[in-house]
């Protein structure tokens, strides 16, 4: 993870955004969106190695595969919602940001319904 490249990229982008912000706000916004995308794409390529390691670990531990898939999906949704929320906040649209966040939470709850059922059945079994 070459932190210097990342840092340089972010600082240069911020300077360029400040330069363009007075005249053309919309292009400054697109520039900040592009910087966020580039940095996340770079981080995401490192992430796939971690994910495969986690998968093998979870398989060894005996937790059933579909729970693990739900966990990864929830992480992905949370990550993307955070990404979109920050972009909307930057553009000053906090209303859209909060709605996006709420929708993300709803999707996560919907995804975790089978997990909740499994948990309840385990508890019921113990009683």
């Amino acid at each position: 993870m070459d932190i210097f490249k990342l840092l340089g990229f972010a600082v240069i982008a911020t300077v360029l955004i400040v330069v363009i912000k007075e005249q053309r706000k919309e292009i400054a916004l697109i520039l900040s969106v592009f910087t966020a995308i580039a940095i996340i794409a770079y981080a995401m390529t490192q992430m796939s190695g971690v994910i495969t390691m986690l998968e093998s670990l979870i398989e060894k531990s005996g937790i059933s595969k579909d729970f693990m898939l739900i966990i990864f999906k929830v992480i992905g949704i949370a990550y993307l919602v955070e990404f979109g929320k920050n972009i909307c906040m930057d553009a000053g649209q906090s209303a859209i940001a909060t709605k996006l966040e709420m929708a993300g939470k709803v999707m996560i709850v919907v995804l975790s319904v089978p997990l909740i059922n499994a948990l309840l059945s385990v508890i019921a079994g113990m009683v």
Partner: protein, 64 residues
């Protein structure tokens, strides 16, 4: 992490800003508006391809 795309977008932004100033000073408000829109569209085209492959990466990594 391609820095040249960053400079390309910034260049277009500055170019559009300057063109806008020149055109508005010359009294051609409508053409100034047109250059702003074209600059915006070009920048959007550049960024959309980046957005799509980011979402594709996230989809494969998190199995969404």
């Amino acid at each position: 992490m391609d820095i040249d795309l960053l400079f390309k977008i910034a260049g277009i932004g500055i170019l559009v800003a300057v063109l806008n100033q020149v055109l508005s000073k010359a009294g051609r408000e409508d053409q100034a508006m047109m250059t702003t829109l074209t600059g915006l569209i070009i920048v959007l085209m550049l960024v959309i391809s980046q957005i799509s492959n980011l979402f594709e990466t996230v989809r494969t990594v998190f199995k969404l």
